[in-house]
Amino acid sequence: MFSLSEGNDNWNPGPPSRFILPFPPLIRFSNPSSGNPCTFGMTTSIFRMSKDAPEKERPMEELVNVEAVSRRFPLDNIPTHHPAHSFVSALSNASLRVSAGEFLAIAGPSGSGKTTLLNLIGCIDQPTTGRILVDGVDTSKLKPNGMTTLRREKIGFVFQTFNLIPVFTAAENVEYPLLIQGIGSRERRERVAEALDSVGLSARAQQRPDLLSGGERQRVAVARAMVHRPALVLADEPTANLDTQNATQLIDLMHGLNRRLGLTFIFSTHDARLLEHAERIVRLCDGQVVSDNSTEGGSRG
C-alpha cells in the first residue's frame, strides 16, 4: 500500500496488492445511457458469454478509482487567450472503480476516449478535472517524479504496437522494468526466466524483436508488463496489430495470468471478439462511460 502525505510525492509503495477474495466486484455505473448506439447489441453478447464463464474468486480491494474525470485538449495553433480558442473533449465526467484482480475491458469505437482513459489511469497524462486514485494514491497530487515512481513500481503497460526496445533481446526487454527498479542481476535473471516461461517464450529469450512474430512480440510485451509484479497492467488495444489466432492466444494468456497470479488487467479494445473474454466491460462513447457490465467470469477461450 502507499503512504502518502499531502503534497508529498515521495510515497512508499508497499507490497503489490493481489488479494484473492471470494466475492465478485461491485458493479458501478457511471453515466449509464441505455439508449446509446455505442452499447446497442453488445449487452446480449456479454450475458451470453457469462453463461459459460467459470466462477472465479475475486479480490474486493479497490485498486483504481476514477472520479468524475474529464480531459480536454486545446486545439493546436490557437492561443488560449484568443476568442476562437477552444478545446476538444476526449473524456467527459467519467467515473469508474476497479478492484484488484479484475480483468476489465474498456470498449468503444475509435475516438471514444479509451486510450485517454488508460493514459489517465496509467499516470502518463493528467485529467483536466476530477481525480484518479491508484492503489489509494491520489495521482492528481503527485509531482512528475512521484508519477514516474508510481508507474515504475505499480503499473505495467502493453501497447498496441508492442513498443519493444529493438536493440534489446526478448529477455532484455523483459528485464528492463526490473533494471530501472534497481533489482539485482541474479533476481532479474530469475524473474525474467519466470516471466518468459509464463508467456511460453523461454526458447525465444535471446531473439531480438525483429526476429519475433507479432504474436511473440506482444507476448514479450506482456511478460515485460508483469515481470515487476505490478498492481495493475494496462493494455491499450493489445490485439489491434494481431491476427485473430494470435489475438485470441494473447487474450487467453492475459486472462490466464489474471486468474493464476491475480494480476489486474485493464485493456482497451474495439474488437467484439475479444470482449467475449472480458469479465467486465466498460463501454465508452464520445468520451463518456455509457455502460459498465460484468460478465461474471468471462470466457476462458
Partner: protein, 410 residues
Amino acid sequence: MAKFLLLAFRNVFRNRRRTLMTLFMVGGGVAGLLLVGGFFARMFWGLREHTINSGLGHIQIFTADHFNRDEVRALDTGIDNWRQVAATVKTGGHVRGVAPRIEFYGMVSNGDKSSVFMGTAVDPVAENGLGFFPTTFTSGHDLDSKSGGEVEALVGAGLAKSMNVKVGDGLTVLSMTSDGALNGVDVEIVGIVDSGVAEMDARSLRITLPAAQRLLQSDRVTNLVVGLDKTENTDQVAAELAPRLRGLPQQLVLKKWIELATYYKQVRSLFSTIFVFLGIIVFFMVLMSSVNTLLMTMFERTREIGTMLAMGTPRAWIVALFMLEATLIGIFGAIVGVLAGNLLGVLLNHSNLHLPPPPGFTVPMSFQVLHVPSLMIGSSLLVIVSLALASILPAIRASRLQIAEALAHV
C-alpha cells in the same frame, strides 16, 4: 549500469550508415587536427633544433653586465677568465662541448667596395666539439685553427655576392679595438656559407678567435656557447650549472636557448594561435553537425522514449542515455581519427613531400608530421566533449517529451 551501457552501445550502431557518417566526420576532425598539429610540432621541433644547432647552442653564458648595459667599446662586457669558466662547465653532465665566441661588427672592404658586416669569432675545434649541424658551404671549406700566416675567413653567400668575392680572394676587415682605436686585418676567404637564412648570409663574416682577439686587442670573449647531448636536458643542466658559476670571480649569467630564440618563440606563438583556431573550428563543426544528427535520432526514437518514460524510466536516465550514446560516438570517432591521423602521418612522412621555403629561409621545408601523444589525447578529448555537449539539447528534449504524445508518435 552494464545493461544501460549495453543499450547505449547498441543504439550507437542502430543506424549504421548514419553512425558511420558521424564517425567519419568526428574521425576526420581528429585526424585533421593530428596532421596539422603533428606538422606544426615537427615544424617547431625542426625550427628549435635548427636554431640551436645553427649556432645558438643549448645554453649561453654571459657576464651579468652584458645585459645590464650596452658595450661602449669592444668586449668591455666580455668574459675575462673564460678558459676557467669553460673548464668548469665541461665537467657537468650531458655537456657535449663549450665554445667561446666573440660577437663584433665593423666594415669589410675589397678595395673597391665596403660593406657592413656582423662578425663572429670562433674556435673551430671547440665549435666542432659542440656537435652542431655542419656549416653548409656553397664553395670552399671550414676555418682551420692550425693555419699559419693568413687569417682565414668565412663569408655569407649574400655578402660574398655583394662584395663580388670568391674563395681565395682577400678582404680587409675593420673594427674598433677595446681601447677605442680603429684596427684592421687582412683575411683570405676560405669558404662561402649558405646558412639558409638570407638576411644572415647578407652580413655574416666568421674568423678565428685569435684573429678576432688580435683585431679587437682583447683576450676576452663575448660569451660561451654550451652544446648538450639532448635539448630536453637543457633545464636540468642549467639548474646544475647555475650554482657552480656563482663561485667564479666574475658575475655570470646563464641563458637557456629558449630565452634567446626570439624568432622561434614568435613562430611558435603564431602557429599555436592558428592551431587553437583550427581546434575551435573543428569543435564547432563536430558540435553543430552532431546536434543535427542526434536530434534526428531523437525524433526517430520518440515512441521508444515514450515507452521507456511510460514504464517509469527517470527522465534523468533518458538524458544520461543520450549523452552516453553521444560520448560513445565521440570515443569511437576519436579512435578512428587517431588511427587515421597516424596512418596518414606515416604515409606523408614517407612521401618525401617538400614545402616551399618559409619566409626568410632559402631551403625548402620537408613535409613531416610528428606523432604527438598529448595531441592525440587532446584532440580525442576535444571531440568527445564536443559530442557530449552536442547531445545535451537532444537529450533534454527527449527527456521532456509528453509521454502520451510520444506514444502516439508515428
